[in-house]
């Protein structure tokens, strides 16, 4: 096992990895940018090195600088977390060249899975289902008509260079096809500077469901169940759960087998995730991509399976064999993760960097707090707004939801606005509760339903505010009195006037 590990990340995931290392008896080295001196990951690690200015391009993305620290601190391995250098094959190779273990898969796996085209080719060879569509690009209008007959309606036109939900268009019937062909092409060149587009089947009521896999360097590989990640806002996951409300054991095994095939196509040898798009109607599933790292949402799988993915990933990187066999993997109960962000849900999710003036984290049964912040911490403007994850376990989905609601009601972050109230409202939403949703839920259904949501405690809010105003006014008038009494030569009238005007600002 390793003696010392460097964590090339910040925030909650760096804290998560430090905790795993501590429990394994491994010393930890944190790296931090100049604005992150006060960050929690620096405080909990055994060692800490400053690696440069705030912008990540000058700090957390500086591969050479991180390797330099790793050599200086004499670490055995580097854990990249997620984001930053985690899916950078060159960085993984640089580690190897410097005799440092990269805690993640082999660089070839990262490289192949990091590219849409190569990954689709690789998994197709293993007979992993892909969304039916073209492998080449559309040449012209005729080509477009020809393929539309093969694929059928509704269909999707997609920019080859697109991503993150941009450069896509759904076509319902032949009527608008050619206009849409031209419009998508022109959009594509505007957005991605590349007018290549292709055609794919439209997946009805699409859900995003992913399978967690775990491999070692001895050729062992298991899958540890699925995660439902369809609750997204602008193509960003915000709430995840395990298991999925629409996946039964039979489907789980089929998806698991497909995920293992996909992973085997690149000799996968670490923790990773195979993402699928699933039709909410037909329950057909299609390969989307593979993430060659620990995911933000890994804790929900840990909660239901009892497997510590982060520790297993470290053990496997150290050359140990997996300690779990496929037949030992059992899901118990239901887990939900709410991503708590420094964003204002009542103001179009505007980022809210700033100082956390007060913090109360929920407790009690079935609650897991994965936080990267603390009371008094100043959330910096330079990095993503995720400040913590609330992970909840319950005996079944209903119990998990009611517990999540209870936990959110205990959660208090003062000083900055967060997405806690947003999550609380989702947990009360009928569609969410019934499990009947797809990836468009938040941006369409929820928004509408949420606007109608009742706010029964207006009276309490008014009374609270009035009492606070009254107390302030009383305190001010007392301050005037006492100052006057003790103030000696000062003219009380003048003073009173001054203080009043202050309190009226």
């Amino acid at each position: 096992m390793f003696n010392k590990v460097l964590i090339a990340n910040r925030g909650e995931i760096a804290v998560r990895v430090v905790r795993a290392c501590k429990e394994l008896g491994i010393a930890t080295v944190a790296v931090y940018s100049e604005v992150d001196r006060a960050s929690l990951h620096v405080r909990v690690a055994d060692e800490a090195y400053c690696i440069g200015p705030a912008p990540s391009s000058q700090s957390y993305l500086m591969a050479e600088k991180i390797i330099e620290v790793a050599r200086k601190a004499k670490v055995d391995a580097i854990h990249p977390g997620y984001g930053f250098l985690s899916e950078n094959a060159e960085f993984a190779e640089l580690c190897v060249e410097n005799d440092i273990v990269f805690i993640g898969p082999n660089p070839r796996a990262i490289r192949i899975m990091g590219n849409k085209t190569t990954s689709r080719v690789a998994v197709a060879e293993m007979n992993v289902p892909l969304v039916p569509g073209m492998k080449e690009n559309l040449l012209n209008a005729e080509h477009c008509l020809e393929w539309s007959e093969k694929i059928g309606y509704p269909l999707m036109l997609k920019a080859a260079a697109g991503g993150g939900g941009k450069g896509m268009r759904k076509i319902d019937s032949p009527d608008g096809l050619l206009d849409a062909f031209r419009a998508t092409k022109s959009e594509a060149i505007k957005s991605f500077n590349d007018d290549a587009i292709y055609m794919e089947r439209y997946v009805d009521r699409p859900r995003h469901i992913e399978i967690q896999v775990l491999g070692d360097k001895h050729g062992n590989m298991i899958h540890v169940g699925e995660r439902e990640c369809s609750i997204q806002r602008r193509h960003q996951k915000v709430i995840e759960e395990a298991p999925s409300p629409i996946v039964d054991e039979e489907m789980r095994q089929r998806m698991g087998a497909a995920a293992l095939s996909a992973a085997r196509s690149v000799n996968y040898d670490s923790a990773g995730t195979v993402e699928f798009i699933v039709s909410g109607e037909s329950k057909e599933f299609f390969f989307l991509e593979m993430n060659t790292r620990l995911q933000v949402e890994h804790p929900i799988t840990e909660m239901v399976t009892g497997i510590d993915l982060c520790k297993e990933m470290i053990r496997s990187a150290a050359g140990q064999e997996l300690t779990i066999k496929q037949e030992d993997v059992q899901m118990r109960g239901h887990a939900i993760e709410c991503r708590i962000s420094a964003e204002d849900p009542d103001n179009d999710f505007l980022p809210t960097p700033g100082k956390i003036a007060g913090l109360r984290v929920p407790g009690g049964p079935g609650i897991r707090d994965e936080s990267g912040v603390y009371e008094g911490f100043e959330v910096p403007i330079h990095y993503d707004p995720l400040i913590s994850k609330l992970v909840v376990w319950g005996r079944d989905r209903d119990n998990a939801i009611s517990r999540c609601r209870r936990a959110l009601s205990e959660y208090i972050v003062k000083g900055i606005k967060t997405t806690i109230p947003f999550h609380a409202r989702v947990m009360l939403n009928e569609h969410f509760i019934s499990g009947d949703f797809d990836t468009s839920f938040i941006d369409t259904h929820f928004k509408m339903e949420d606007a109608a949501h009742k706010r029964p405690d207006e009276k309490v809010a008014i009374i609270g505010a009035v009492i606070k105003a009254f107390r302030r006014d009383k305190e001010n008038s007392q301050r005037i009195t006492s100052t006057t009494e003790g103030g000696g030569g000062v003219n009380p009238w003048k003073l009173s006037g001054r203080i009043r005007s202050l309190s009226n600002r």
Binding site: K414, A461, I463, G464, I467, F470
Partner: protein
């Protein structure tokens, strides 16, 4: 003592007196209730009234303007001493006039889309602010003329910093 609480443009008259330290009698909407008000920690209160227990998060954002959170719901409440309010109304509200565009958060000025002397429409984007890896558009609240721009492209700004001024125009 009487206050006018304004919530969602509705004015509500509230009378209040302190019966014992921390205990208040409040008259609102004709009803009379006794409230036990306890500051559990700074700006976080435990209220008990009619034996109902509430945790209420109350921040005074500006003088008299309160941001209140009860059971996950957020309320903006403006509280003004009734006498002062009447006085202010007598003096007249003061014209709407010049708009100060302030930064809604700390961040970096990514792009200045309008310059001094430009005419803008209500809802038009003035400035793009970058924070936490996201671009945030700052829009004009009115039709008007940009009379001064203090924001500088690439510079960091804190929350509340003045970015530019817009004077209303009539087309």
């Amino acid at each position: 003592m009487a206050y006018i609480a304004t919530i969602k443009d509705e004015d509500i008259r509230v009378e209040i007196e302190e019966s014992e330290p921390g205990l208040y009698r409040v008259w609102i909407n004709g009803a009379d209730c006794k409230v036990d008000f306890f500051e559990a920690r700074e700006n976080l209160y435990s209220l008990i009234f009619d034996h109902q227990s509430y945790e209420v998060d109350i921040d005074e954002v500006e003088n008299g303007s309160y941001s209140v959170m009860v059971k996950g719901d957020h309320f903006d409440v403006l509280v003004v001493d009734e006498k002062k309010k009447k006085l202010a109304e007598k003096l007249g509200a003061g014209a709407g006039g010049r708009q100060e565009i302030k930064s809604p958060m700390a961040g970096n000025i990514w792009k200045l889309l309008k310059n001094q002397g430009d005419f803008v429409k209500e809802g038009e984007v003035l400035i793009i602010l970058e924070a936490m890896k996201m671009e945030n558009e700052i829009r004009s609240p009115i039709d008007g003329l940009v009379t001064s721009v203090s924001a500088v492209e690439g510079a960091a700004v804190s929350a509340g910093a003045l970015l530019c001024l817009i004077d209303p125009t009539e087309e």
